[in-house]
């Protein structure tokens, strides 16, 4: 089943890096996004904020980045928990956007 997301975004807020009981790094953060997208044949402005999480080595690479840093994200969506169905973007890979 397809569940793949690519997003250019700006790091907005970061929680402190934490470890799972088994010792994997976890970084919860949020990003903002602003762009122009096509909808029903015409362009429109889009902006939103998204909750993200990264685990393991990706989390450790993201951790030192300052808020305001622009990154290109690749990942998938999952529910926050069984109780809360709000979406969280799980980041599998990212790269810095220069310029």
């Amino acid at each position: 089943m397809a569940n793949r997301l690519r997003l250019d975004a700006t790091i907005a807020r970061k929680e402190p890096l934490r470890l799972t009981p088994a010792g994997a790094a976890v970084l919860a953060f949020s990003v903002t996004h602003q762009s122009s997208q096509m909808e029903a044949g015409s362009a429109r402005d889009v902006s939103f904020e998204a909750q993200c999480v990264a685990i393991g080595e990706v989390a450790r690479r993201l951790e030192p980045l300052a808020t305001g840093t622009r990154i290109e994200i690749e990942g998938f969506l999952a529910a926050r928990s069984r109780q809360s169905r709000s979406l969280v973007l799980h980041v599998n890979e990212f790269s810095l956007i220069r310029g």
């Binding site: 799972t20 009981p21 088994a22 010792g23 976890v26 685990i55 109780q83």
Partner: protein, 732 residues
């Protein structure tokens, strides 16, 4: 005419409720003698229970007694106590005796019984030691001082002043500083004091009144419940009574609940009553040491025998007084093999010897409390706290409150204030480990033990998931085995998590965690106690290990976390237990000159238990619980026995208990038979466990019923089922 051999009927440590007949010479050995006999292909040591003219076993099948061991026979009273115990708890006499006698006493084979050595300082030792032993070797110094003041020092005495004395004495023996000689265990032992003797504080009028009403000069049995709030000086009362008994030539048996408390109490009594010989007996002793001490006690050489539950069976020829301290403590009930209750055996012992018994507690068991209310026991009170005020107890309603790793801002700021004043705080949480559950919030999975019907506890420090029931441990799952999510969480609080939270919040404070994990190493707990006393600790996190009897003068705040789950247990004793525990732990706050405060975090602030705790009113809550028990017809208004069964296959358990229930109904005259149910933890280490409760209005009715029912159970063939009867169970 052939002379009929005299027959000795012998109790052997085999799980069959019968005595074994052996031929013995004349004169026949006295009852209570220890004998070595052939049993099957091995030799065994047994106890002669009685001798008679003939056996019902064919004469050619009766084997002879091989030898009578060279130890004095058990006194008739000890044998009678063992018989009563075996009969009451439905346990065979042979294994009963095997439980209560020191293992070394009944080991077959020759000699090799450990000797009691006495050490004497030589002229060489006298001249050389003073310069050679440095002043900072405090233990060695104390040992030297003891050898100087006492002509002959035995190892029991030596270890009282210095834990590692035996090793040092051997070394000094090699150096020629001391000589040694065997000591007759019945030779009277002299008191030794590990520290400079403490002056015995004069009794308060209230304490004096208690001592007067126990009135040791009047002979005969009577039981008294001494209900004294924490800090009211129960120990001072014991000391006065012990001194009085000893002055009249009597021995005192003092039972205490916990092995951890014995060295502390032993030192305290030795310092306060330096002229009295004291012997402590507990399960932490090496077998040889236990036997030596046991022989000292039975020979009448010790004035005070201080011990945990098993000490109740020590023969004491000069017994004049029995004291059970913290009589409500569940550890007085043995939970395996011979499931006796040492407090109840102590009552029997006192009655048998016709001596007074004192049951002491700040929070008596409801059984003893009801006996006192009914006038069967004397009811004595110590209400004043000569050295402290009652702690101020308040509850913090944590419903909907943001918590910092389970700790409320009220508790944290109370701790902060103590840190500022250089006082100690204790956070009491009766759950060890980091978190009781490892949880996947994505799918709801929780880590469970593969062999038990129980969750695994997260131990972050050791990086392990551990089962607190069967001891199984495994690596912490790195991903959820059900959905693959790696972001697993520990849910709930354990001591380690609270410790971590306190360290993070108060980085400058010295935090110490005291639970059975952190005290596993031998002597670790004693070291920790010393550090706490020395003020080298600011913040304590601990389980009920810290609740009992420890007097920490700088401790002024107790925080209680996670106690609520004790309010809603299926065991009707859970609230009684929780209340006792919280009263005890609250009593830790502010014992000396500093006022104490207790902060209880709860989601049920209006529960009567917390209200009674806040008022420090044991009596009110005890009466409330007793009314409930009377209404529900539970102990102490009923007498219970629990049949516990376990097997690999659940069907075997169910089938056995169903048959047992049928058998029970057939004899249930005046006895209520409940339905078989799964145990609270239905499977442990791969064994399914079930139980069947029976209950009677009177003790004799229960005893009669068990005498009829138990043999039926024994005859039922259920080879795959392990089962036992627990008479007067303290846990359901």
């Amino acid at each position: 005419m052939p002379r009929t051999p005299s027959i000795a009927r012998i109790a052997l440590d085999v799980p069959i409720d019968t005595l074994f007949d052996y031929a013995c010479g004349t004169p026949s050995p006295a009852p209570g003698s220890l004998v070595e006999v052939p049993f099957g292909r091995r030799r065994a040591v047994g106890v002669v229970v009685e001798c008679q003219e003939r056996s019902e076993v064919a004469a050619d099948r009766v084997k002879p007694v091989e030898r009578v061991l060279e130890v004095a026979p058990l006194p008739a009273q000890t044998l009678a106590l063992a018989r009563f115990c075996a009969d009451y708890y439905r346990y065979p006499l042979g294994p009963t005796l095997a439980t209560i006698l020191p293992t070394m006493l009944r080991r077959p084979g020759r000699g090799s019984r450990p000797r009691l050595w006495g050490y004497r300082l030589t002229a060489l030792g006298r001249s050389q030691s003073a310069a050679a032993v440095p002043a900072r070797a405090a233990g060695a110094r104390r040992l030297l001082a003891l050898l100087t003041t006492h002509e002959l020092v035995d190892t029991v005495q030596a270890r009282l002043v210095y834990r590692d004395a035996t090793r040092l004495l051997k070394q000094w023996l090699d150096q020629g500083w001391v000589t040694r000689e065997p000591i007759d265990p019945s030779a009277p032992t002299q008191g030794v004091s590990p520290a400079p003797p403490l002056p015995v504080a004069p009794l308060t009028p209230e304490q004096e009144e208690v001592v007067r009403s126990i009135d040791l000069r009047t002979p005969g049995y009577r039981a008294s419940l001494l209900q004294g709030v924490t800090g009211s000086g129960k120990t001072e009362v014991y000391q006065a009574l012990i001194a009085e008994a000893a002055a009249a030539g009597g021995q005192t048996l003092l039972l205490v609940p916990e092995i951890n408390l014995t060295p502390q109490l032993e030192a305290r009594f030795a310092a306060r009553l330096p002229e009295l010989g004291i012997v402590s007996l507990h399960s932490g002793l090496a077998e040889g040491e236990r036997l030596r001490r046991w022989e000292r006690a039975r020979a009448g050489a010790a004035d005070i025998v201080l011990g945990t539950r098993l000490a109740v069976f020590t023969p004491l020829p000069r017994l004049a007084l029995v004291v059970v301290d913290e009589e409500h403590d569940p550890s007085f009930k043995q939970q395996e093999g011979l499931r006796y209750h040492a407090r109840d055996m102590a009552i029997y012992l006192a009655r048998q010897h016709q001596v007074p018994i004192v049951l002491g507690s700040a929070t008596p068991s409801l059984e003893s409390y009801a006996n006192a209310l009914a006038g069967r026991y004397g009811h004595l009170h110590l209400r004043a706290r000569p050295r402290a005020a009652a702690p101020l107890v308040r509850t913090v309603d944590v419903r909907g409150m943001p918590l910092e790793q389970g700790l409320s801002s009220e508790l944290l700021s109370a701790i902060d204030a103590r840190l500022g004043r250089g006082e100690q705080s204790l956070v009491f949480i009766n759950r060890r480990g980091y978190a009781p559950v490892l949880f996947c919030s994505a799918c709801g999975w929780m880590a469970e033990c593969g062999r038990c019907a129980a969750r695994l506890t997260l131990h972050l420090k050791a990086q392990r998931l551990r089962c607190h029931y069967c001891g199984h441990q495994e690596r912490i799952a790195s991903r959820c085995p059900s959905c693959g999510n790696q972001d697993l969480h520990g849910v709930g609080q354990g001591t380690q998590r609270v410790e971590e939270a306190l360290v993070a919040r108060f980085p400058a404070a010295r935090v110490l965690r005291v639970d059975s994990d952190s005290t596993r190493r031998r002597g670790a707990f004693a070291d920790m106690r010393e550090r706490i006393h020395a003020g080298a600790v600011d913040l304590l996190v601990g389980t009920q290990m810290l609740g009992k009897g420890h007097d920490f003068p700088r401790l002024t705040l107790v925080g209680v976390v996670g106690a609520d789950h004790g309010l809603f247990s299926s065991d009707f004793r859970a609230t009684e237990r929780l209340f006792q525990q919280l009263m005890q732990v609250a009593g830790r706050a502010g014992r000396a000159e500093l006022a104490g405060e207790v902060v209880v975090q709860t989601e049920f602030p209006t529960h009567p238990l917390y209200a009674a705790l806040a008022d420090q009113d044991f009596d009110r809550f005890a009466r409330l619980l007793l009314a409930e028990r009377r209404h529900a017809e539970f102990p102490p208004y009923a007498y219970q026995a629990l049949l516990r069964a376990q097997a690999h296959d659940q069907r075997d358990v169910d089938q056995f208990l169903a048959i047992a229930a049928r058998d029970a109904h057939a004899h249930a005259d005046g006895v209520e038979v409940y339905d078989p149910v799964p145990a609270p933890v239905a499977r442990i280490a791969g064994h399914w466990r079930g139980q069947l409760l029976v209950q009677a209005r009177s003790r004799p009715a229960l005893k009669r019923f068990l005498a009829a029912w138990h043999p039926l159970l024994t005859r039922r063939k259920a080879p795959r089922v392990r089962w036992f009867l627990d008479v007067d169970p303290v846990e359901l």
